[in-house]
Amino acid sequence: MTRVALLRYPGTWSERDFAHAFSLVPDVETQILWHEEADLRGFDAAIVPGGFSYGDYLRAGAIAKISPATKELRRFAAEGKPVLGSCNGFQILCEAGLLPGALLRNASLEYRCDWIHIRVESDRTPWTAGLASQVLRMPIGHGEGCYVADPDTIAELEEKGRVVFRYTDERGAATPEANPNGSTANIAGVANADGNVVGLMPHPERCVETLLGGTDGYRVLANVGHALAGTGRALYR
C-alpha cells in the first residue's frame, strides 16, 4: 500500500478532492494532515493541495512557508520522496524555496477558471513517468499563476529538463493564445533539481473521472503508485 499525505493549511480547499482522486487509484491510501501536526514519517509521497492558505495574505503561499508542515516537507523532500504541489500548493513550494521562481498576478489581472491544455515536457519525475510529450486537458482556477524567474534560472530549467508542463493548444503548440496567465515561456509546472518535487498551476485532482469532464489528472496521480511500487527514485533520476 502506498501512503500519500495531503497537507492541510488554514485555507487549503483541495485536500478532499485529492483524497477522492487517490481513492480511485489501486493500492493507494491517503491521510489529511493538519499543518501543525504534519509528521510525514511513514508516508511515501506528499501533496500540497490548492486553496487560499492563510487567505493569500501578503503573497499567495507566503505565510504557509513558515508553517511547521513546510519545515517537515523540506526534510521529506530532501530524502527524495515524491512531492506534488498544485495551484496554491505550487505557490507554497515556490515561496518555500523548494521550487525555483515565483507566481505573480495573472497578466490579464483576471482570475481564470477554465479548461486548458498542458504538454508534458519531462518524464523524469515520479508524477510524469511514461507521459512524455502527452497533451493533457485540465482545469485551472487561479488569480496568481504567472510563472516568473530570472533569465538564468529559466535557462537552467529549460536546459536541465526541469520544465515539466507547458501550456499549449490542444495539438501541443505552445502559442501565446494558449497561455492563460502570462507565464514565462508558457511554463505551467517545474521540478526541483532532483526531480522529486513538482509543482503545477492546473488541478489534476479535478479531472480524474468522466463525470468531472476529463480523466487526464488521473494519469498523473496514478503515477505515484507506479513510481513507488517499481524502481522508486531510479525511475526518474
Binding site: 501578503l58 503573497r59 507566503a62 505565510i63 512557508k65 513558515i66 515556490c94 515561496e95 525555483p100 521562481g101 515565483a102 505573480l104 498576478r105 495573472n106 497578466a107 490579464s108 489581472l109 504567472c146 516568473v148 524567474a149 530570472d150 502570462g182
Partner: protein, 85 residues
C-alpha cells in the same frame, strides 16, 4: 526597546507589474499625461529589540524571510525608536 519599522516592498524593475499597468491605463483615461505606474506596499511593524543594531537585524529577517519575496521583490526600510507612550 520598542521600534517601529516601515518597509516599502516593490516589485523588481524587471518584473512586470500588471496592477501598475492597469492603473496607468485608468489614469490616462482621466486625461492625465501619465507615462508609468509601479505599485508596491507599505508594511509598518512595531516590535521589541535590545538595541538599534538588533532592530536592524530583525527587520532584515522580516524582509528576507517573509515580508518580501527576493525572487520578485525589493524592499527598503526605515526604522525609528518608538515614541514613549
Amino acid at each position: 526597546m520598542r521600534f517601529v519599522a516601515t518597509l516599502h516592498v516593490r516589485t523588481k524593475p524587471e518584473v512586470r507589474d500588471p496592477q501598475g499597468e492597469a492603473a496607468l491605463g485608468a489614469l490616462r483615461s482621466l486625461g492625465l499625461d501619465v507615462s508609468k505606474v509601479r505599485t508596491g506596499k507599505e508594511i509598518v511593524v512595531t516590535f521589541e529589540a535590545v538595541d538599534a543594531h538588533a532592530a536592524e537585524d530583525a527587520i532584515r529577517v522580516m524582509g528576507n524571510e517573509l515580508l518580501a519575496n527576493p525572487v520578485i521583490e525589493d524592499y527598503e526600510y526605515d526604522v525609528k525608536e518608538a515614541a514613549a507612550a
